[in-house]
């Protein structure tokens, strides 16, 4: 039961998915918001839609942001005819929230024990 055995099974380590880092950007948050309605959209559609008031991003910039989101597993590209469309996957974000709730709850318990400890 050593960590080695596990890494042998995964011959090539899965790419890490820094979901938070991917979301720490206004444009990407806007893209996620746009896609979270559930409807897959093409790069052109996303480029033409007003993501940020005032700033107009190039197709190239949007593509770059979509790739970051894709690497984090937040969006997937699906092929529709000759076109790539991007689709929202709620799983990674839901997972993070669960994890943070979990750690947060552990702190609540620990701090309430601390409270009893110092107030007694």
């Amino acid at each position: 039961m050593s960590p080695k055995r596990r890494s042998n099974i995964a011959a090539r380590p899965r790419p890490r998915s820094p979901v938070f880092a991917a979301l720490g950007d206004e444009t990407r948050l806007a893209l996620v918001t746009k896609l979270s309605s559930g409807q897959p959209r093409s790069i052109s559609q996303l480029t033409n839609s007003q993501l940020n008031k005032g700033s107009r991003l190039t197709r190239q910039a949007i593509t770059k942001h979509l790739r970051v989101l894709e690497r984090a597993g937040i969006v997937h590209s699906v092929r529709v005819g000759r076109e790539s469309r991007f689709e929202f996957d709620p799983q990674p974000i839901a997972g993070i929230q669960e994890y943070l709730d979990f750690v947060s709850e552990q702190w609540d318990h620990a701090l309430s024990r601390l409270k009893s400890f110092v107030e007694d």
Binding site: P3, S17, Y99, W107, H109
Partner: protein, 150 residues
């Protein structure tokens, strides 16, 4: 999305008392439920093991960062690294900070934990899913026990 946890708690105890509970390794172990091998020293690794019944096989490890008397105590660790088979050592740890402030009735303790964006989500989910049930249940039991005892 927020990538940090912040907790504020009012303690009816003077700042020096709370400081001791946080930074004396035996006292810390009492309420945190961990048996530590030795005192906290900034820049050094603190090792020990969890003392929950049934979880004694789990190691506790943190690197003490700052100890500014009666003001700030911080360490980095792998939060609730509860999977004994996993190797957490290559992952970027999170930073835990305890800040103390004197209040009229005692001490305000502000706890923050930050740096969750650096933890790979696959590990996060694995560790969480495998252990969530038992661990959370255990915590509830302890809280009940403490509530009855006090």
């Amino acid at each position: 999305m927020d990538d940090r946890i912040e907790k504020r708690i009012e303690l009816k105890a003077p700042v020096p008392r709370v400081w001791r509970a946080l930074t004396d390794y035996r006292e810390f172990g009492e309420w945190f439920r961990v048996k530590l091998d030795g005192p906290f020293v900034p820049g050094q690794i603190s090792r020990g093991h969890i003392t929950y019944p049934g979880y004694e096989h789990l190691k506790w490890e943190a690197v003490v960062q700052k100890m500014e008397p009666e003001r700030l105590f911080s360490f980095t660790w792998h939060p609730y690294a509860v999977d004994p088979r996993a190797d957490y050592s290559k992952e970027t740890p999170t930073l835990v900070e305890f800040r103390l402030e004197k209040t009229a009735s005692g001490t305000l303790l502000v706890l923050t934990e930050s740096g969750f964006d650096k933890i790979p989500s696959n590990r996060r989910l694995e560790a969480f899913r495998r252990n969530e049930g038992g661990w959370a249940e255990q915590m509830k039991n302890i809280e009940k026990h403490v509530a009855q005892a006090s």
